[in-house]
Structures are given as C-alpha cells and as structure tokens.
Symmetry: C2
Subunit: 405 residues, 2 copies
C-alpha cells in the first residue's frame, strides 16, 4: 500500500473549521487506498502569541525554555487533528517529538535531526491508525525539548518520509507550488509543475519562502519526492524531484528577489595579506554568515572591502566591525541596507554560458546598476539598489522568456 | 537546606504580569535560604480555551488526545515561569510530565501517579537550579500523555514533595486558606490557621474547592505538611497537618455546602433480598458513584429505594435506572436535582455524641426539613431542599459557635 507523508502548515490550521477541512483531505487520501502519516505545524498565530508572551517575561529568552514553550503549539494542533480525524471515524494518534522520540543535536531553536525511530509509527500504520506528528520539535541527548527553526515542520515531514521510505512527501501550504517569479511582483509569472532539488535549494535560500531549505536538502539526500500543494483545493502543484531527461528545457526556471540582505564596506584598508581574515573572523565567531565578498583592486597600498550579510545580522555585525576597523587602521565602515539581491536560477545555467551576459544586459537596458555579482552552478545573483527590485524581477522574467504562454 | 515545593494555580498565572509577580515570590523564597521546586498549572483560561477547541472538533473527544492537548497548557506556563525566573537572574529549568517522567496508570483524564523519579530534580537542586514542573500531567506505560484530573497540579505538587521529602508543600491559590464556611454565604466565617488532613478530606469532598481531594490523601499518606496560601499577598494561610495535641479544640471546624448532588428514588419496588444490588450494580458498572442510600421500611411487600449521586451523573444514571425499574417491577423513578448537602465537619465529632442532635435541632428550628442523613467519624451530613442551602450554613455556623471572635 503506498505510503504518503502529508504536512500541513499553520495557515491550513488557522481555526477548527480549517482543521476539519484538512481532516477531510486526509480521510480522502485514506479512502484512495494510501497509508498516511500526518505532520502538523502550530495553528496560525499560535507561535507568534507564545513568542510575544515570552518577550513580555524576558527580553533575552533562554533558548531551552523558548523551545519548550513553542513546541506546545504543534503538540496542541496534533492532538486537535487526531480528534478531528476521530470524529470522521478514523483511528488516529498524536505524537509530540518527545514521544517518537525524534532525536536532535543540542542546538536549541535550530536543532538538527540525528535519529528518528519509526517503531511506534510502523505499529500504528500496521493497525490502520493514522499517526499525527507534531512538527518542528525534537529532543536532545539531555532530554530537553528542541526545535528545528522556522519552517521546521517541513523538515520533520521529509525526515519522516525518508525514515519510513514513503512514496511521497506532500507539503500543504497556502500557495499551490513554485512559480517562475513571485506573482505579486510579476503578474505574468508562470506556475512550475516540476523543479529539481538543486533549483529549489537555490530558490529557498533566496527568499522564495515555499519550503524550509533544510527540508529540501534532506529530500535531496534521501531522494524523497516532494510535492507542494495548496490546502485550499487548487489543482496545481509542484513536484520537487531529481533532474530528469523529461525536465522542461528552459535555461532559467525562475527569478527570485531577496530583500533580506545588507551590505557592509570597510573603506580604505591598508592592503596586506590576511586582511580578509581579520575582517571576517570576528563575524564568523559570532555565527554571522557572510554571503558575497568583494575586495577592490589595491590603489597605493589601500583597498576597500565589501560584503553582504543578512539584514537581521546587521545590528550585531556593525559594532564588531567598528572594532576591527580600529585594529586594522581602516578609515571607516559604511553600512547599506537599501539593497536587494535578484537571481536567475535554473539547471540550464550549467550548460548555457550566455546566461550571465543576457542578465547583465537586461538590467543595463533599464539603467539598473549592478553593485555586486555572485554565481553558483545553477544561479546568477546581482546586488542592486533595493528600489529597483520589482522592476528587475519583471525585466529578467521577460528576458528569459518565462511568461505564461 | 530546607526544601519547599511551591504550587501556583492558574489564577496566579493569568497574565505575564502575574507570572512575573510569582517569579518574585519564588526568588524571595530562594533568598531566604530555601531550595525550591515549583509546580505550575495552566494560565487562567487556557484549559477552557483548549477544551472549547476540542469540543468544536469532536463532541466525543478521544481521551488520549484530550490529555495530550490539555497537557500543553501546563507545559507552556512552566516554560514561561522558567523564563521569568531567568530574567531575575535565577537558573531554572521547565519540565513536562514526559520529561521527569512522572509515570501514571493508563486512565486518561483521571490518571493516578505510580512512579515519580527524582533524578533530574535532585541534579538541578544540587546545581542551584530551580526545577519548574508542569503540573496535572504524566505519561502512562505506553508512552501516552495522561492527566490527573481537574486540580491535578495540587497532586503533582504533593507527590513531588513526598518523593523529594520536602519540608513543606505550599499551595498558592486565589483564597488565603480554609474557612469555617464559605465567606460568600456566611459573612461571619472565620479563617482557620490549621486543619487536619481528615477534616480537609471531608471538606474537599464536599464542595470546599480549595484543594484536589487526592492531593490531600497523598499528603496524609506521606505525612507532607501542606500550606494553603493566597498568591495575592495575604498574610493568612492554613496549615493542613496531622492531628496534634495543640489543635483548636472546637467540636466542629467547619460547615460545608454541596450543591452538586441529586437524588433518585425507585418507587414501589417489590421488597425481596438482593433488590439493592439489582438497582445499584448497573450504576457501579457505569462508574457512577452513589453516596447516601435509604431503603424505607417495607409496607405490604413493597418499599421505596432512594439514593444520592453527583448531579453530573444524573443524565447517565436516569436511563439505566428506567431499565432496572422495568426489570424489577418498580412503579416509577423519581429524580430530584433541587437538593443540597449541608455538612458539619470536625475531628471533635468523634468524641462529642451530641453533635448530630445539635445539628438536627438547629435545622428544625428554622423549619428546614432533613430528607436524608449520613455520617462519618468526623462528619454529619444532611440532604435538604436546595433553596435552604445558604440559610442552613449560617444557622449551623451559629449553632456551633464558629463565628469570628
């Protein structure tokens, strides 16, 4: 009997009516002759409500307690879903992460799964019981409750699908899949019925917030076919799978825009060996990820050093860098958070050397200045002024012929 | 170092301000040189909110899932309390029942504690960490979350105090202890600074809702001194302890009123051996507790059979009894839920044979008819018409000289 893992996000579980509707979808899947394992997020708004309560009590919330608090959101919706399934005459049992137990490392608020025993789930499935697993949470070696980070329920679902060797992992969300661009920015954006894990990883990492990036990594690693579907009954969906012969042959599959970036420049640094390390090491120590890095050509022994980072990390990075500037004798630090990263993504990029040129020309034709460039095997990204973000997406969408046909 | 277990009820934890205030009380206890273990209920309103959600999804909520759902309320408040303590510079760690683990039997919604390991709590105390335990919940042998029934956090606290051999178990609630009668009914009610376990058991069982009755049983069994205090800063409190020489020597310690009772009468039953068993056995099978029982003197081979039960059980009991009536050839069943039970309680009752007479006379003087009577070693209870309930309390309070002096 085919086994499906279905994950429902918070917006699919906003009220008891939503929960009842989702229970109906699960029941229909059972009737079609599938075994089903369900993973749920917290009801919409619940996580924010709990975070607000925590913030009222402690401005520097202890991570262990924050995890214990937030985990209750998913635990409650799992129990409610099991009740809703029972009211439809189905047998169901809810599980908190502690009960499986879904074992993680010790990193509170962003733990990684290290072991996921399937004993109780297999037993339930054998008895025609639907297990309903609270997503997002696990337990570390010390018996403490951990959480997997925002969007962590996606990762729970994929991990379960991998451990149970499920035929597919279905992610029900408030969108009906992946588009060539954000339809709110680019009205001609086209729905994609299939993307590769690699493309999805680049898109997830760049602000197309359909799936938690780690869930895609995990799906790729264990070859779990992922299906992104709307929980509001749209017929459309997107498969996230391995690259296949039958893939759509477009050079570029999508254009993404990431507004969550900022730029820091260290101006007029004496250019000597090891300077990049001196600048970036304190940031690495503070767990701040740096993305693109540029070091200008040296003029008279001095250079400028620029890099991008997450906008969220700017307040933490700025004072660290001020200190570094003093130590290395730089003239000043400039911060710029009015930038955006626009990217063209597609497995075709590998084999089409002309993609970058086409991208730069399209932006130049609209007088959009490119401040920084970075590339991966299947992606080209440009840092531009933030105000041109939407325009750049539309321009590139046209330039790569992604519009609806 | 003296060890105190402190339990805070939902009304003490209604908002983040309440939680912060309670954290202050705990901090003060630490400063006085005590080790502290904290037990918390769910925040006020949270349990009702969850029950309402469950009811929207399933009119016949599966008990396993209801327990998993409700347990989240205490788990969340434990984490929030640990955060509040951390913000005061104290080290604290929250624990769900699953984490200790507090092991119970398999009876969902009214489980009994069977084992309570103290390893993690002892380790925390040794490291100057305050354990904050989510009350009301445990885990059964199957790994399912269970709950201990309404008021179950009291029982969690006493069980912890017993297991840790604490010096005292303090129950913080919205009243400042036990009174000779409900002050809302009887304005001259007097605060009691000390009552015995036995007296408290009779009072708890009769509608004086200060403590869950099982917590008092447990305290008595393990000789845990209980202290009931107001979380709103009143100086008054009530000790619940073993009978001691120094006990106040009043014959009667308090008058209670229980409106949660109903009466069922089986009219004109052929009087033959085994008739009581035939009537009551189906109720016992349905887990319905019967309290007082009267069988009238037989007249011409027929008798009437009357008993009281919890008002809540009446809808379940009535159809069972209708069936029994047919089987045994009774003429009819009469139900009466407009009754109340008024009781005089005190360890002095044991040694003062005149108490019953004084009680009956006081009620007769006010023309309050006594429908049924039952007694225990330290209690005399009368069933009266519901509308005389408050009057009866005041009359008896005066008759036994309980008023404030």
């Amino acid at each position: 009997m085919p086994l499906i893992v279905q994950k429902y996000g918070g917006s699919s579980l906003a009220t008891s009516d939503h929960i009842r509707r989702v229970a109906g979808t699960i029941a229909a899947t059972k009737r079609e002759g599938h075994q089903v394992v369900v993973v749920v997020s917290a009801m919409r708004g619940e996580t924010d409500r709990l975070i607000a309560l925590a913030a009222e009590l402690n401005s520097d919330t202890p991570a262990r307690e924050l995890d214990a608090l937030l985990a209750t959101g998913e635990q409650a919706s799992a129990a409610l879903m099991a009740m809703a399934l029972a009211s439809l005459g189905l047998r169901a049992r809810s599980y908190a992460g502690l009960q499986l137990p879904l074992r993680t490392d010790a990193n509170h608020t962003r733990a990684r799964i290290i072991d996921l025993p399937t004993g109780v789930l297999r037993r339930d499935l054998d008895q025609n019981i639907i297990p309903v697993v609270a997503g997002f949470q696990g337990v570390n070696g010390n018996g403490d409750i951990t959480t997997l980070g925002r969007g962590g329920s996606d990762t729970t679902a994929v991990a379960l699908a991998a451990a149970l060797q499920a035929d597919v992992c279905e992610i029900y969300t408030d969108v009906d899949g992946v588009y060539t661009a954000d339809p709110n920015i680019c009205p001609s954006a086209r729905h994609l019925s299939k993307v590769t894990y690699e493309e999805m990883l680049e898109m997830s990492g760049l602000g197309a917030k359909v799936l938690q990036i780690r869930s895609v990594e995990l799906a790729q690693k264990y070859r779990v076919p992922l299906l992104v579907k709307s929980s509001y009954g749209s017929d459309k969906c997107t498969w996230i799978v391995e690259e296949a012969e039958s893939m759509e042959s477009a050079v570029v599959s999508g254009i993404t825009l990431d507004r969550g970036v900022a730029k820091l420049s260290v101006i007029h640094v004496p250019d000597r060996p090891g300077i990049a390390y001196q600048i970036l090491a304190p940031l690495a120590e503070a767990q701040i990820n740096v993305d693109m890095v540029i070091q200008n050509a040296s003029i008279e022994g001095y250079t400028d050093f620029t890099f991008t980072l997450s906008k969220e990390d700017l307040p933490k990075a700025r004072p660290l860098l001020d200190q570094v500037a003093e130590e290395i004798g730089a003239r000043e630090i400039r911060a710029d958070d009015s930038i955006a990263k626009v990217s063209a993504i597609g497995i075709g990029v590998k084999n089409h050397p002309g993609v970058a040129a086409r991208m730069f020309k399209a932006l130049a034709d609209e007088n959009i200045n490119i401040q920084m460039i970075s590339t991966s095997e299947i992606r080209i990204s440009c840092i531009i002024e933030s105000k041109y973000g939407e325009l750049a997406v539309r321009v590139l969408h046209d330039a790569f012929d992604l519009q609806q046909r």
